[in-house]
Amino acid sequence: MIHPFFRRVLLALSGTLLLASCSDNKQQATTLPYIGEHDVRARTDGGPADTIYATIPRFTLTNQEGKTVTDSTLAGKVYVTDFFFATCPSICPKMQSEMLRVYEKYKNNPRVAFLSHTIDPAHDSIPVLRDYAERLGVTNASQWQFVTAPHDTIFALARAYMTGAEADKKAAGGFAHNGTFALVDGQRHVRGLYDGMNPQEVDRLLREMPLLLAEESAKQSKP
């Protein structure tokens, strides 16, 4: 059985592959694709049409220190997301140990952030999240935030980040979810999806992050 969320991710991934394979232009090879649906809008001034890329909706979350985190906290940064829960009996430890690899590489780089969303906000209170982060060795709460929000907010965000997550009484621990990592640019566009359970996929994330960071630098140095 393929979970519908997995299917979406697969679709998105194969879309990326297709896109990548039809472009022979050099520019493309060093630019990460925009993942999700595109919309093309004619401009009122008659100029070339604008492409509107899928954008993560604005959000307000609370981190392990009880501080508010919003989309503007992360604006202009490159960030990586995942979805987990503290008592997750299956994939989370492995997924978080892969995330740790990425964190160690970009630790203290103010242009990079990490966002781990709990999909069990009823259990994972702020003290639980703080304890989890500390046990994982994450001391810099402003760089790797373990965040909570009302249930519906979290699950809507999971969909936006193209990560499968839903309550499922039959699944181990009560939630069915996958270990997708989403790489997001400074304007809330998803630019890469990776299977966080697969070290090769996480290696690809490590190779692709510098491309996105370079793109952000270029954007910011423009007048």
Partner: protein, 140 residues
């Protein structure tokens, strides 16, 4: 692909699987396979654990100091404070009701004898008896 080639390829794949399966016939490898399947996501492929979240199994003093309790820990899971190599852990390990007594024995023997561990091996009968303490023996 020509039909003959397809058949050949099928045969090659089947042989590869056959070879793989052949590797897992002895008990040590049964333990390794079960560990990989049921435990490695949390405790790691090399039993190193994960920071202060998941305790290690490689070089864990707990394996010798709590030898008799291990069958029930595998069967029923564990939660609350545990101290392994002087580090405190406090998370949830899930139960494994789907494993037979003999599978638990093979996993435990794999733990006691891997990654430099040199613990005493268990017999199936001993594990079934120890599982009696938590009503966890399935007699198989």
């Amino acid at each position: 692909m020509p039909r003959a080639l397809q058949v050949l390829r099928g045969a090659a794949i089947a042989t590869a699987f056959g070879l793989l399966a052949g590797c897992f016939t002895n008990k040590q490898n049964e333990g390794a396979r079960l560990y990989q399947e049921h435990c490695s996501n949390c405790h790691g492929e090399q039993g190193a654990g994960l920071r202060r979240l998941i305790p290690p199994l490689a070089g864990s003093d707990y394996l010798s100091t709590n030898r008799a309790a291990l069958p029930c820990i595998l069967r029923k899971g564990q939660q609350g404070l545990v101290v392994v190599n002087a580090v405190e852990y406090n998370q949830v390990m899930p139960p494994h009701e789907d494993l037979t007594d003999s599978q638990i024995t093979n996993i435990l023997n794999f733990l006691q004898q891997s990654w430099g561990n040199k613990g005493e091996a268990y017999t199936i009968r001993e594990v079934s008896e120890l599982l009696g303490a938590c009503n966890g023996s399935d007699g198989r």
